[in-house]
C-alpha cells in the first residue's frame, strides 16, 4: 500500500473526496485516469488552488490538496488562513518534501517554519508522521475528520513497526525512560531511534516518543515525560521558533511546571543543501551525532 493507493481507494469509496495539486504530481501520478474530473490540477497557482479548494469544500467536497511544503505553507499562507481557516472548511493539505526531505533544493524550498505557521491558524490541525507506515495509519482518521488539516508528508520506509493505533491529539510512546526522553516528529524519528539505542548502550534509561499530532498536542504525554525524566530533548527539522520546542515550553508554562529541556532544531539559518544523508551529517542530525550532543548535555548541565 502506498500513499497513492490509499488516496485512490479513499476517493473511489467516497465521491466527496477530490484530489487537487498545483502541478506537484509526484505523489498522485495515476490519479487522473482513476478519478477523472475529481482530479484537479490548477497549474503552478498555490493561491488559486487553495481558494478553489475552499469553494469545493463549500459545496460539500473534501479536497485533498498537494503542493511542495514551502509553497503550500508560505506562498498560499494567507489563502489557507483566510479561506480555509476563517471558513473552518475540511481542506486536507498534503505537504510534500517538508523539512530535511527537501535535501538538495536549497533554501527557497526548505519548509522549516511550516509547523509554526500552520499551528497559528485557528481550527487548523497539524500532523507529522514519522514514516510511510505511520502516514498510512494516520491518514484515514485525518481525512475523515471535519477539521482542516496540514500533514507533513513523508513516504520514507519505516524502520520501526508502529503498533499504537493513531488517534488525533495522541502521541505514540515508543518507550519510557527515567534519564532521557526524546520527543521527535517526522523523518527524524528514524535517527532518534538510533540515538536512543546508542544512549541505552551507554547506560542511560531512555524514553522515545513519536509526537505525530502537533495540533492538537498530547499535553498529558509531554507533562508525563517532563516529570519523569531528568532531561527531555526535542528533535525537529524545523526552526527553533514555533515548533515542538515551543509547544513543550508553552505546555509546561500553562501547567506551571518546569523541566530540563534541550532543543535539537535549526537555529536561525537555512540548512546546507546536499544529499539527505550528507545534510543530516552536516547539520548534526544523525542519530550518532544527536546521541553525542545529548550525552554532553547530560554531563555538563545535569552534573549536580
Amino acid at each position: 500500500m502506498t500513499y497513492e493507493d490509499l488516496l485512490t481507494q479513499t476517493a473511489l469509496a467516497d465521491d466527496r473526496v477530490v484530489v487537487m495539486t498545483a502541478e506537484n504530481r509526484a505523489l498522485v501520478r495515476n490519479m487522473p485516469q482513476n478519478l477523472g474530473n475529481r482530479f484537479i490540477d490548477t497549474g503552478i497557482t498555490e493561491q488559486c488552488m487553495i481558494g478553489a479548494a475552499a469553494g469545493l469544500a463549500l459545496r460539500g467536497r473534501t479536497p485533498v490538496v498537494h503542493a511542495l511544503a514551502a509553497f503550500l505553507s508560505m506562498r498560499a499562507f494567507e489563502f489557507i488562513r483566510t479561506d480555509v481557516g476563517i471558513g473552518n472548511l475540511p481542506v486536507k493539505l498534503s505537504s510534500f518534501v517538508p523539512g530535511f526531505l527537501s535535501d538538495g533544493n536549497g533554501p527557497t524550498h526548505q519548509a522549516i517554519e511550516d509547523v509554526a505557521l500552520m499551528r497559528g491558524i485557528p481550527h487548523m490541525q497539524v500532523f507529522c508522521p514519522a514514516d510511510e507506515q505511520d502516514l498510512l495509519q494516520m491518514l484515514p482518521t485525518i481525512w475523515a475528520s471535519p477539521a482542516p488539516s496540514y500533514v507533513r508528508i513523508t513516504t520514507r520506509p519505516a524502520t520501526y513497526q508502529h503498533k499504537q493505533p493513531f488517534e488525533i491529539g495522541c502521541a505514540e510512546v515508543v518507550s519510557m525512560g527515567s534519564d532521557i526522553t526524546l520527543l521527535v516528529y517526522g523523518m527524524l524519528f528514524e535517527q532518534a531511534l538510533i540515538a536512543a539505542d546508542i544512549l541505552r548502550h551507554a547506560g542511560y534509561s531512555v524514553g522515545l516518543v513519536n509526537m505525530r499530532s502537533l495540533k492538537p498536542i498530547d499535553e498529558h504525554t509531554i507533562l508525563d515525560v517532563c516529570l519523569s525524566s531528568d532531561l527531555v530533548v526535542t528533535i525537529e527539522d524545523h526552526f527553533l521558533t514555533g515548533g515542538l520546542y515551543s509547544i513543550v515550553a508553552e505546555t509546561l508554562l500553562k501547567y506551571r511546571k518546569t523541566a530540563n529541556v534541550h532543543p535539537i532544531a535549526l537555529k536561525g539559518k537555512w540548512y546546507k543543501p546536499g544529499r539527505l544523508n550528507e545534510v543530516l551529517e552536516h547539520e548534526g542530525f544523525t542519530g550518532a551525532q544527536m546521541a553525542h550532543t545529548i550525552q554532553t548535555e547530560m554531563i555538563e548541565n545535569l552534573a549536580d
Binding site: 477530490v18 474530473n37 475529481r38 484537479i40 490548477t42 497549474g43 497557482t45 493561491q47 488559486c48 488552488m49 487553495i50 481558494g51 478553489a52 479548494a53 475552499a54 469553494g55 469545493l56 469544500a57 463549500l58 459545496r59 460539500g60 467536497r61 494567507e78 489563502f79 483566510t82 479561506d83 476563517i86 471558513g87
Partner: protein
C-alpha cells in the same frame, strides 16, 4: 425589459442607496464604493440569479460572491429590500451585538463567503463553479470584483484556471468605477485596455454601462457569453453614483458623515439641492 420591471429596479436601487447613505455615519462605511455597485447588485439579485429566501441554502441555487468586500452595504440594502434581512439590523451597523460590519461575513443570510482580503473570491467562486460542473448542476456562479482589486495576481491566476477548466457557468463582474482606494486606477496601475486583457487570458468579455438596467439585461440575456469560456462583464460605473456632491471623487471611497449631512444627502438623492459636505474622508486602509 418592460417598463414595470424597469421602474421596480430603479425604485429598489434608490431605496438601497438610501440604506447605504444612512449607514455612512456613526463610524461610516465604504459609501462611494458601494454606490457604484448598487445597480449591479440590485439587477443581479432581482433579475439574473435564481435565488430567493427559501433557496438561500439550496445546493441548486445560483451564487453571488462579493470579492470586493467594501460593497457589502449594497448587498445589505438589497437584502433588506428582498425581505431577507430586517432594516433594523442596518441601524446596528458596527455594533458588536450584531454582525453588520465593513466586510461580508456568513452570519448574514445571503452572504455566501467572507471577504475583505482582495483577490480571494475569484478562486473560491471558481471552486464552486467547478463543483457545479463536476456534479452536473446548472447553477450560475457570479463573483463581483473591484477594478483596484485587479492589481492582485491571484485574480489572474483564477482567470487562467477558469479558462483552462472551461467554466462558462462562472461570471466575473468588474465594478469598473476607475478608482482604487486613494486614487484613480489609471494614475496608479493602469488597467486599460481592460477587455483586451481578459480576452487575452481566454475569457468571453462584454462591457456595459453598469448603471443602465436595460444594457445589463441585454448583456446578460445570452448566458454564457460563449460556450466553454469564463464570462467577464466589465460594468462601467461611477464611485458615489446618485450623489453629485460626492460622485467620482477620489476622497469619497470611505465616508463618515454627520447626521445632518446624511439628511442632506438623502435629499440630494431625491433630486433636492446639492448637499454641502464638510466631513473628512476617513482613510481606513
Amino acid at each position: 425589459m418592460n417598463s414595470n420591471t424597469l421602474q421596480d429596479l430603479e425604485a429598489t436601487a434608490l431605496r438601497v442607496r438610501e440604506h447605504i447613505i444612512r449607514m455612512s455615519t456613526d463610524g461610516g462605511c465604504f459609501t462611494g464604493a458601494s454606490l457604484s455597485a448598487t445597480d449591479l447588485v440590485v439587477y443581479l439579485y432581482k433579475q439574473f440569479l435564481k435565488i430567493d429566501q427559501s433557496t438561500l441554502n439550496d445546493p441548486n441555487r445560483d451564487y453571488l460572491f462579493l470579492s470586493k468586500g467594501h460593497d457589502v452595504p449594497a448587498l445589505y440594502g438589497t437584502f433588506v429590500e428582498l425581505g431577507w434581512m430586517p432594516a433594523e439590523r442596518l441601524a446596528n451597523h458596527l455594533s458588536t451585538n450584531d454582525s453588520v460590519y465593513w466586510h461580508p461575513n456568513v452570519k448574514i443570510p445571503g452572504i455566501e463567503f467572507h471577504s475583505g482580503s482582495l483577490g480571494h473570491l475569484p478562486s473560491v467562486a471558481l471552486g464552486v463553479a467547478l463543483d457545479c460542473k463536476i456534479g452536473g448542476s446548472p447553477n450560475k456562479v457570479v463573483c463581483i470584483l473591484g477594478d483596484g482589486e485587479l492589481n492582485e495576481g491571484s485574480v489572474w491566476e483564477a482567470v487562467l484556471v477558469a479558462n483552462a477548466y472551461k467554466l462558462d457557468n462562472l461570471l466575473f463582474v468588474v465594478d469598473r468605477n476607475f478608482f482604487q482606494a486613494n486614487m484613480p486606477t489609471e494614475e496608479l496601475i493602469p488597467l486599460e485596455p481592460l477587455a483586451d486583457k481578459f480576452a487575452a487570458f481566454g475569457a468571453a468579455v462584454k462591457r456595459v454601462d453598469g448603471h443602465n438596467f436595460t444594457a445589463l439585461e441585454n448583456a446578460l440575456s445570452e448566458f454564457p457569453f460563449e460556450s466553454g469560456k469564463l464570462n467577464v462583464l466589465i460594468a462601467d460605473t461611477r464611485r458615489g453614483k446618485g450623489l453629485p456632491s460626492i460622485e467620482a471623487r477620489a476622497d469619497r471611497w470611505f465616508c463618515n458623515f454627520t447626521h445632518d449631512e446624511v439628511d442632506a444627502l438623502i435629499g440630494e438623492l431625491h433630486g433636492q439641492h446639492k448637499a454641502t459636505i464638510e466631513s473628512e474622508t476617513l482613510v481606513v486602509r
